[in-house]
């Protein structure tokens, strides 16, 4: 396959020239662990609380609360799980972090192990990223040889920690933390009822923290430089920086590290997409934002996102985009609970009706109601968020979608 090298992704990963306030700043391998081991467990938890770090997977649960519950739990076994099942359409930040900054992710997991008193870390890597497996395994081996993993990590008496990597098998819903745990335990990846949360009853019934790749990658920096330093970036309620995976109609797609609170307009200027018509924030399960709202800022309190930013310009058909998202959810719904299993099919049928021009506005309103019901009644995040694109796209782009259809019906 010599002549095809251009198209094939490298399997030897090298850092690219990236810069950013936190994650893409300088970091010496292992220095975060070293600092953490010299600290008291409660000190680390306090720094984490001061940083007000929230989970970077999208849901935004305060990381320190999660860790404190598990640290306080009384159980002989605890687990640290890294959620690398990055399946949200338009998200690829974890791919960049794992392939270019594995030291941050694994050091973060080790610090987590020390803080909560766990000895085992598991990375749940999505099956689509199998090509990274051998590289990551060899990096872990390197860590073991330099004493950053294994018995008595970096000479710290009594702290043993090791990380294993487990592969997913192509199920989007396994990015949901309880489904991920089910999958690790060898079952169908169907979400569990919450509560109990994994912090109490997680992997194999033991207290478990499940965090996103990006969350772990931030930990070494917070430990080294402190929680207050971390708060210098971002807004009051969304501290620090965020990796944005930008794709679609722009000049420079890729991963950008920007402080929270950046407005959509600013982001579009950075990536070279001033002629954008719509921005889908938060992947398929996010919301579709039109030009008039480009002043909204990217933050947990405004337009929240796990990192996915998809940009569409004037030439794109919003209905086609919406249809693609709904098809995605119909395929990826695990089928366990009724609102999600049937609701998504009904919403997709609704989109197809609009496409053909065979709809009534009354029925579309009913479907929006159905969507709002799904947001309340579904068991996990998939069904609770899958109506978002349906409701937001039909709301924000109703002129484009319904006007062209009405004209089409006349001719």
């Amino acid at each position: 396959m010599q002549n095809l090298k251009r198209n094939k992704m490298n399997t030897v990963f090298e850092k690219q020239n990236r810069s950013g306030p936190i994650l893409f700043s300088k970091y010496d391998e292992g220095s975060g662990i070293e600092k953490a081991l010299s600290m008291d467990r409660n000190e680390i938890l306090n720094e984490l609380r001061d940083s007000k770090l929230k989970g970077r997977g999208g849901a935004g649960f305060p990381t320190s609360s999660k860790w404190m519950i598990v640290a306080a739990a009384n159980d002989e076994k605890k687990y640290v799980i890294c959620n690398a099942d990055e399946g949200e359409p338009g998200t690829f930040k974890d791919r960049v972090l794992l392939s270019e900054y594995p030291e941050l992710v694994f050091d973060g997991m080790t610090i987590a192990g020390f803080t909560i008193g766990a000895e085992e870390g598991i990375v749940y890597l999505r099956g689509e990223y199998t090509y990274m497996l051998s590289y990551l395994e060899s990096y872990l081996e390197k860590m073991r040889q330099s004493g950053r993993l294994g018995k008595n990590v970096l000479g710290k008496e009594g702290f043993n920690f090791d990380i294993i990597i487990r592969l997913g098998s192509g199920a989007y819903v396994c990015g949901e933390e309880t489904a991920l745990i089910e999958s690790l335990e060898g079952y169908r990846g169907e979400p569990r009822n919450r509560p109990p949360y994994p912090v109490n009853t997680g992997f194999m019934g033991h207290p478990t923290i499940v965090n996103n790749v990006e969350t772990f990658a931030l930990i070494p920096h917070i430990v080294l430089k402190g929680g207050t330093w971390f708060c210098e970036n971002g807004t009051d309620r969304s501290t620090g920086s965020k990796l944005f995976s930008v794709s679609g109609d722009c000049e420079n797609p890729g991963v950008y590290e920007l402080p929270w609170g950046t407005t959509i307009k600013e982001l579009l200027a950075i990536v070279g997409a001033e002629n954008a018509k719509a921005v889908q924030v938060g992947g398929a399960s996010g919301v579709c934002i039109g030009k008039k709202d480009f002043n909204r800022s990217l933050a947990y309190e405004d337009a929240a996102t796990g990192g996915s930013i998809m940009i569409f310009n004037d030439s794109r058909n919003m209905l086609q985009i919406l249809k693609s998202f709904m098809e995605f959810f119909v395929e990826e719904s695990c089928g366990q609970c009724t609102p999600c299993r049937i609701g998504n099919v009904k919403l997709l049928e609704g989109v197809e009706m609009i496409e053909k021009g065979e709809f009534t506005f009354e029925y579309i309103e009913k479907l929006k109601d159905l969507g709002r019901t799904m947001q309340i009644a579904s068991k996990c995040g998939l069904g609770q968020t899958s109506p978002n694109p349906f409701i937001s796209t039909l709301e924000n782009f109703k002129e484009e979608i319904f006007k062209s259809k009405a004209e089409g019906a006349l001719t």
Partner: protein, 157 residues
């Protein structure tokens, strides 16, 4: 299935059970390795896994049918998964899909007669910044056009 084929399967399953441990949480890695070796997980292999892990075969089948990357029917030696999610789609998935279908003479979801290639769609494979993209087994190819995609398919054995 011939007796010596069955024996080979049993041996593989017992090796894998030893490697990952005789517990339910080993099920997925075991199935993934069987899949890698045989391109699918036969009824017999499912029964063997169930026997070794001491669970009901239906449990094993239930897991296989849940995951998109595990198969209970024979698949080709190479599995090609073309990303069809919106960003790749807008960058030209359809043209590539049409070209690839013509080139191989099969539809999506099918396997070529010689068992060389199985063609499938995949949901977002995390390559939106280099779209359109496809996975060939464990390797990812990006920035495709119809011609290069077909060239790649011709070169896989």
């Amino acid at each position: 299935m011939l007796v010596y084929e069955k024996n080979a399967v049993s041996e593989l399953v017992s090796d894998l059970t030893e490697k990952y441990g005789k517990k339910r949480s080993s099920l997925l890695p075991i199935l993934q390795e069987i899949q890698q070796r045989y391109n699918y997980i036969s009824d017999f292999a499912q029964q063997e896994v169930a026997r070794m892990l001491d669970i009901h075969p239906v449990e094993v089948y239930g897991v296989i049918s849940f995951y998109a990357f595990l198969y209970d029917k024979p698949r080709g030696r190479n599995i090609v998964r073309l990303c069809k999610t919106i960003i790749c789609d807008l960058a030209g998935t359809k043209a590539i899909a049409d070209a690839v279908k013509r080139e191989l003479g099969i539809e999506f979801g099918d396997t070529t007669k010689d068992g060389r290639v199985t063609l499938e769609y995949a949901n977002c494979i995390g390559m939106c910044d280099h779209s359109p993209a496809m996975l060939v087994n464990d390797h990812v190819f990006t920035g495709l056009d119809p011609e290069t995609a077909c060239k790649i398919l011709r070169e896989i054995k």
